[in-house]
């Protein structure tokens, strides 16, 4: 027969002073683990949320990112004339040849510089990216040295406010507006007229081509056709697939979360053990009484395991609650994080993202800590000889 759960809950609450520290400690472990995973998840979510499933992105074979890709004008013409490409209301093919440049800009806080991604984009390219919407100022005019930057990027770099100036070598670009990419990778970009950017940076070639098949059933055929054309030496891929693969930057953060989470949880297991041993010690007579009343050794072990799990679950809930609060607070103040994306070689802006599955993982993590920490004390409680236990003070 198992002891009622109420007994465990009351025990945890009655010893709240000893319990509190352990709960806080486990809460901190869960918070660190969850916080790091939330950053990794933020990077992954940004990339997973980028692109239109109908679009195909074409880059040079062998290049890992748009910024390292080259597409010549001949190649672009070949792509444009491929059969099966969608047209807009005006009858123009939905194909956009774009130039991706890396421009170094000073950080807003005055500590050094970082790379930003400047995309030379065409009107078709803007039609193909419905995620991006203007939120302040106006769009750039063709043939002008004007640039529209993401509002999230603008908060991180000096001179990115509307009316500000971005220096690209000897050239000056005027910021005329801000756009919002709805949490996509475009939130880490600045956009300007494609031809003007090629003129400024003296580039004959484009970086990539974005296009949309007339019908989704034609997409796979187009991908194959581009891939098999030896003269082209280009690689086409669905835009969403291309971005969802750009997650290399999240890897070190996720590794760090795993390593730190494990190491800290070992420390937390020791702390939980301490608390549970103390709990067993203080309740020796009670345990003896329970045994006399007929509770088996097994139910005593179970009882203490449940109590340990309960204790650490409280910590887990606390850690999750703080992480959740952190997310709400960061979102309220519009705080985003940024780091160097190893693939695009430019700053990538991302959000702190605590998702339900991460929280569940954190809670599971805390329960494991609790069970590991209470196993030995529980066994000790079950092994107490009844008579000795009853006699103890």
């Amino acid at each position: 027969m198992a002891l009622p759960l109420k007994y465990n809950i009351r025990n945890v609450l009655v010893r709240w002073r000893t319990t509190l520290f352990t709960v806080l400690g486990i809460g901190a472990v869960v918070l660190v683990f969850l916080g790091l995973r939330a950053l990794g998840r933020g990077i992954e979510a940004t990339n997973a949320n980028t692109g239109d499933p109908r679009n195909l992105l074409v880059v040079r074979k062998g290049s890992q990112a748009e910024s390292g890709s080259l597409v010549s004008r001949d190649q672009f013409r070949t792509l444009r004339d491929l059969p099966g490409i969608a047209r807009n209301a005006a009858g123009e093919p939905l194909v956009s040849a774009e130039l991706v440049m890396i421009v170094s800009a000073p950080r807003r806080d005055g500590v050094g510089e970082a790379n930003t991604l400047l995309r030379g984009v065409t009107p078709r390219g803007m039609e193909l990216r419905s995620q991006v919407a203007l939120v302040e100022g106006r769009w750039f005019h063709a043939g002008q040295r004007e640039v529209v930057v993401s509002s999230r990027l603008a908060r991180r770099f000096a001179g990115f406010e509307v009316g500000g100036t971005i220096k690209a070598g000897p050239d000056r670009l005027t910021v005329v507006g801000h756009f919002d990419g709805q949490g996509s990778a475009f939130d880490s970009e600045a956009w300007m007229d494609a031809d003007e950017s090629r003129a400024i940076f003296d580039r004959e070639q484009y970086s990539s081509v974005l296009l949309r098949p007339a019908d989704d059933s034609l997409a796979d055929g187009l991908i194959q056709r581009i891939d098999q054309d030896k003269r082209l030496a280009l690689r086409a891929e669905r835009e969403v697939d291309y971005y969802s693969k750009q997650t290399m930057t999240a890897k070190p953060i996720n590794y760090l979360a795993g390593i730190l989470g494990t190491a800290m949880s070992v420390g937390a297991v020791f702390a939980a053990m301490n608390t549970m041993y103390a709990s067993v010690g203080a309740r020796t007579r009670e345990i003896g009484t329970l045994r006399v009343l007929g509770y088996s050794r097994r139910s005593i072990v179970l009882c203490f395991l449940i109590e340990g799990a309960l204790l650490s679950l409280l910590g887990g809930v606390l850690g999750c609650a703080i992480a959740w609060g952190l997310q709400v607070g960061l979102a309220a103040f519009n705080v985003s994080f940024g780091t160097l994306d190893f693939q695009s070689f430019a700053e990538t802006v991302f959000q702190f993202r605590v998702t339900p599955d991460l929280m569940l993982l954190g809670l599971g993590f805390s329960v494991v800590i609790g069970l590991a920490g209470s196993l030995l004390p529980a066994l000790r409680a079950a092994r107490l000889p009844v008579i000795v236990a009853l006699k103890s003070l």
């Binding site: 002073r17 000893t18 509190l20 520290f21 806080l24 400690g25 901190a28 472990v29 918070l31 660190v32 916080g35 790091l36 950053l39 040079r60 062998g62 290049s63 890992q64 910024s67 390292g68 080259l70 440049m101 890396i102 421009v103 170094s104 500590v111 050094g112 510089e113 970082a114 790379n115 220096k167 690209a168 070598g169 000897p170 940076f201 003296d202 030496a233 290399m248 070190p252 730190l260 190491a263 800290m264 070992v266 420390g267 937390a268 020791f270 702390a271 053990m273 301490n274 608390t275 041993y277 103390a278 010690g281 203080a282 994080f337 940024g338 780091t339 160097l340 070689f345 700053e347 003070l393």
Partner: protein, 381 residues
């Protein structure tokens, strides 16, 4: 029984608890040391003897934008410069790797010899490298890691450049701060990519550290208002530029360190109050015998500090031993290279543990000081 034995007996009365406390303090200390070392690894690039002399000039737009090769004629004439070579990051993937951890640079071998002054050629000869357009000079770490021999071929798939390389190892070097790099002929890169007339960066050596700043100013001024403006800076400033690109990482590691210290203090405080609470009655007896608050505080402090110190010794020492003897470069595929646990970091770890030891003694001492003797004697727990 004298005082030290009394304290020691008390500390070891509950051996299991003492052990668990020491272990949890130890793990927290080890974590703290590891995090601080990680932060140092990410934010403080290693210094080398020649670094204060060496200058890197890149395109002002960004590192990704090339520079015209014809700038060489102008740079060469700038006074205070003893050597200059094109220095172009190739960024290829070796064999079938998807991420290659060592960098490949295209250089002018004759000019480059005057730049890499601390490097020693340990196998093959520099002359062989300089003579053969298809040859390469490999860092000893890379050479050993892949078990290569002189004369072996190394194939790279270009990721930034639309060309592939097939190089022959002519010489191996060591003695630099990072013996992983590979150098090959810029002429070969030019040939393969259709002679674009561009280089990635210029690698410059100043005659002395004193003139380095003047050289930087002259190089920058020389190309001002030209189509390709230049940003010249010392090698060290250039490396620190990468740190700035990492963004919020530094803050992040500090925040996590804070959380670790917080957990550490919770654990120590909780254990100490547990240990004291179960001997409330004894402390009341001591009080009744005439021991003063000050002395009782000293008992508690000595015990708490002692346990914390033992934990610190274990944790800091353990972390030092682990990171010093582990080949992290191999384990992390070149992500972490030095991971040096400096005395300063160890001192930080120990200091934090010591402060925790003292802080943990405060709440129970306060409780003991406040309690009346009769109250303490009545305590049952």
């Amino acid at each position: 029984m004298n005082l030290p034995t009394f304290i020691l007996k008390n500390a070891l009365r509950n051996r299991r608890r003492a052990l668990l406390t020491v272990l949890s303090v130890g793990i927290s200390c080890a974590l703290l040391v590891t995090l601080l070392t990680l932060q140092r690894e990410l934010t403080v690039p290693p210094e080398s003897a020649g670094a204060s002399l060496r200058i890197i000039a890149r395109n002002k737009v960004s590192l990704a934008q090339p520079l015209p090769a014809k700038q060489l004629a102008v740079i060469e004439r700038i006074p205070g410069i003893v050597a200059v070579s094109p220095f172009t990051f190739f960024g290829g993937n070796f064999r079938d790797e998807t991420v290659t951890s060592f960098a490949q640079f295209a250089v002018d071998p004759r000019r480059f010899q005057g730049l890499l002054v601390e490097a020693r050629v340990i196998e093959g000869s520099y002359e062989d490298f300089a003579k053969d357009r298809l040859a390469c000079l490999v860092g000893a770490d890379t050479f050993e890691r892949y078990g290569l021999k002189i004369g072996d071929r190394m194939k790279f798939t270009g990721t930034f450049y639309p060309v592939d390389l097939d190089l022959k190892i002519a010489a191996v070097f060591n003695g630099t701060v990072d013996d992983r790099g590979l150098f090959f002929h810029h002429k070969l890169l030019d040939e393969l990519s259709g002679d674009p007339g561009t280089v990635g960066t210029w690698y410059i050596r100043a005659a002395s550290p004193e003139v380095a700043n003047d050289v930087i100013a002259r190089v920058n001024a020389a190309f001002e208002n030209t189509a390709a403006e230049v940003r010249a800076e010392t090698e060290r400033a250039f490396q620190l530029g990468f740190v700035s690109m990492l963004g919020n990482v530094k803050m992040l590691v500090l925040l996590i360190s804070g959380a670790v210290v917080f957990t550490l203090s919770l654990v120590t405080i909780s254990t100490m109050s547990m240990a004291i609470r179960e001997r409330f009655r004894e402390l009341a007896v001591l009080k009744a015998l005439g021991f003063q608050r000050r002395e009782l505080f000293a008992f508690i402090l000595a015990e708490s500090f002692g346990l914390a110190a033992l934990g610190a010794l274990l944790g800091v020492g353990g972390a030092w031993a682990l990171w010093t003897h582990l080949d992290l470069q191999k384990l992390t595929n070149g992500f972490l290279i030095y991971f040096e646990v400096t005395p300063r970091i160890m001192a930080w770890g120990a200091a934090v543990a010591a402060i925790m030891g003292v802080v943990a003694a405060l709440p129970p001492s306060w409780q003991t000081a406040r309690m009346s003797v009769t109250e303490g004697l009545k305590t049952l727990d």
